[in-house]
Symmetry: C2
Subunit: 351 residues, 2 copies
C-alpha cells in the first residue's frame, strides 16, 4: 500500500513516516486465504510465515541498522520447526523477536484430560489416539527510546484429529491470540491509534469482537500483585471456536495484518524523540514490570517453562534486554509517569 | 570479636579486612538465648531484631557510603510489623535489603487444611480456632563489583496454638531458612569459605545438618528450566521440627550468626577488584537468572505474591537493581564464565 503513497519517491532517502502504514482490509488476498480445500493448519502455517516476513520488513524500514537475524530450528524428534527472527541492540530496537513455530505430535493422556476439562467437551474418547497441529506467530518489540512503546502480538491455531482418521479432519480446533501495547510514557493518540486499528480489523468480521477482546485483554495482561495492567491493552482472545474455522481464520488474518499499521507508525513517530536520563530510568522500571508479568502471570510463558524439552530461549525471547527494580519507587504526583500509572490502574476506552 | 584483633587500631582509617570477621560459636549469649521461660516466638523476635542490626553493621563497615535506611511498617489490622533495612546504589552495594517481620493472627480454614497436609499431622482439630506467630529475617545483598558475589539468607520460626489456650502453648512449631551464595565469577576459595563457615555453625549442633541442608539447598535453588542452580549454594531447610524447639532455636541462632563471617569477608576481598565491561555484562546476565529464579520458582516469593494485602515491595526486595537478558547468549568454551556455568550445572562439594 505504501507504494501508492506520494512519499514513495523519498523512500530511498529516508525512513517511511507514520502516514506510510495503513490497514487495508480489502487487499488482494493470497492463495492460502482463498483456498479452503487446503487443511487449515497448512493455511495457518503459510499465513504466519508470510506475516513474519511482513512484520520484520515493517520494523526494519524504521531502522537502517536493524537486520533481524533468522534462526531456523527443528525439533530433535522431527515433529516441528520454528523460525526466530531476532534483533538486539540496533539503533532503534533494544530487543525484538518475531517468531513462528509449527509443531505437530500425539496428545499425551494428560493433555487429552486437561483439554477435555478446558474445552468442556466429550469429543475426545477414551482409548483413542489423537494428533495435534499447532501453528503460531509470536512477537515482542522493545524499542530503545522511552517514548516509543513496547508491543506484543501472538496468533495461533490449534487442532486435534483422530490418529486413525486418514483424512485428519479436526475434531476440535480453535484460535487464540491478540496484540497489546506497553508504553513507558502515555501518548493518548498512540493508544487510540493502536486500538482503533485493531478495532477496524475486528469490526470487519464481527461487531462483538473488539469490545469483548479489548476487555479480555485488560483482564489478562494484569499484574494482579501490583493492581495494574501491563500496558494500555489491545485485544486478547483464546479458545475461539464459536464460529467455523474458515471465518475465524479470516478474522485472524485481518488481526495479524493489522499489526504493522497499528504499531510501526508509533515507532516512526517516537523513535527519535528527545529524552532525559530520568525518562530512561522510568522506562527501565517499566521493563521490570514487564518481566514480572511475563515470568509470574503469562500463561504462555508458564506453560513453556514447564514443558520438557522446550526451547527456553524462544520462551524467554519476550524479556527485555535490560530491566530495573528500585525499592518503593513511586512517581511524583501529577507527573507524566503518574499519568501512565493512573491509566494502568483504571483501564480506559480508546476506540 | 574483631575488636580483639590486632588491626583494630586501623579501624578508624580503613575498612576491616577479610580476616576481621570470624565465627565465634562460644560467644557470650544474650538473654533471649538463655531464657527458656520466654515464649519461643518472643525469643525469635528478639533474635532477628538483634541479627538485623549486626548484619547491617557488618555490611556498612565495608562501605563508608552505605547507610541502610530503616523503614518500619505495621499491618493495618495491627497484626504485626516489620523493619526493612534497605541500601540502594551505594559505593559497594547495588542493592540490598535486610528485613525482619513479626506477624500473628488466626489461621484461616484453608491454611489449617493445607498445614494438615503439609505437616502430615492430625494435631489440628476441626471446629477449633488456631492462632499463629511468625518471626523471621530475610536478606539479599547484590554488590556492584561483578567479582563480589550476591548473598541471600532467611531464618524464620512459625508456631500454631489453640486460640482457647490461655497459655498459648504451641501445638505445632517449626523453623525454616538457610543461606546461599550467588557469584557471577567463581572463586573457589570464596565458595569454600562460605560453605565451611556454615558447616561449622551446623556441626556445632548436629553432624547430619550440613550434608542434608547443603543438598537440600542445591535442590531448592534450581532454575529447573535452565538445568542450573542459582549459585554455589549453601544450606537450606524447611519445616524443621525433628528436635525440640529449644535445640532448633540454638541451631538457628548459630546459623544466623554465621552470616556475617561467611559473607562479609568475601565483600571485603572482592569489592575493589578490577573488572571489564564484559565482566559487568556477564554479571547483568546472571542477575537476569536471579530474577528468573525468584519470580518463577521461589516458594516464598510466589506465596507472597498470592497473599492478599501483602507488602509487595518487601516481597520483591530481593530483585537486583538491574538485570539483562540476551537472546541465546552463551559463554565461550573454557572461559571464566563457562567455569561458573559448569559448577551450576554440576553442584560440587565445598566443605
Amino acid at each position: 500500500l505504501k507504494d501508492q503513497k506520494p512519499n514513495v519517491a523519498k523512500k530511498a532517502y529516508k525512513t517511511p513516516g507514520p502516514e506510510s502504514y495503513e490497514l487495508d482490509l480489502d487487499d488482494e488476498k493470497p492463495g492460502y486465504y482463498k483456498n479452503s480445500s487446503l487443511p487449515m493448519h497448512q493455511r495457518m502455517e503459510a499465513f504466519v510465515t508470510d506475516l513474519q516476513k511482513q512484520i520484520i520488513q515493517g520494523l526494519e524500514e524504521q531502522d537502517p541498522t536493524a537486520k533481524f537475524e533468522l534462526d531456523k530450528w527443528a525439533r530433535e524428534d522431527g515433529k516441528g520447526y520454528g523460525i526466530s527472527g531476532i534483533v538486539q541492540n540496533s539503533e532503534v530496537y533494544e530487543k525484538g523477536g518475531v517468531n513462528i513455530s509449527i509443531i505437530h505430535g500425539k496428545l499425551s493422556p494428560g493433555q487429552i484430560q486437561s483439554m477435555r476439562a478446558r474445552k468442556n467437551t466429550n469429543v475426545l474418547e477414551d482409548g483413542i489416539d489423537y494428533d495435534f497441529n499447532v501453528a503460531g506467530i509470536s512477537l515482542v518489540i522493545h524499542p530503545h527510546n522511552p517514548m516509543a512503546p513496547t508491543a506484543h502480538a501472538n496468533y495461533r491455531y490449534f487442532e486435534v484429529s483422530r490418529h486413525d482418521d486418514p483424512t485428519h479432519t479436526p475434531v476440535l480446533s480453535w484460535f487464540g491470540g491478540g496484540a497489546d501495547l506497553t508504553p513507558s510514557y502515555l501518548f493518548e493518540e498512540d493508544a487510540t491509534h493502536f486500538h482503533r486499528t485493531l478495532k477496524n480489523a475486528c469490526d470487519h468480521h464481527e461487531a462483538s469482537f473488539y469490545p469483548r477482546f479489548k476487555q479480555w485483554c485488560d483482564k489478562y495482561f494484569m499484574n494482579t500483585h501490583r493492581g495494574e495492567t501491563r500496558g494500555v491493552g489491545g485485544i486478547f482472545f483464546d479458545d475461539l471456536d464459536e464460529k467455523d474455522a474458515e471465518d475465524l481464520f479470516k478474522f485472524v488474518y485481518s488481526a495479524g495484518k493489522a499489526f504493522v499499521p497499528s504499531y510501526v507508525p508509533l515507532v516512526a513517530k517516537r523513535k527519535d524523540m528527545g529524552f532525559t536520563e530520568e525518562n530512561k530510568r522510568w522506562q527501565q522500571l517499566r521493563r521490570g514490570r514487564y518481566v514480572e508479568f511475563n515470568l509470574i502471570h503469562d500463561r504462555g510463558t508458564k506453560f513453556g517453562l514447564m514443558t520438557p524439552g522446550v526451547r527456553i530461549e524462544s520462551v524467554l525471547m519476550s524479556l527485555p534486554l535490560t530491566a530495573r527494580w528500585e525499592y518503593c519507587h513511586s512517581p511524583g504526583q501529577n507527573s507524566r509517569e503518574q499519568r501512565l500509572v493512573d491509566v494502568l490502574k483504571n483501564p480506559r476506552e480508546w476506540a
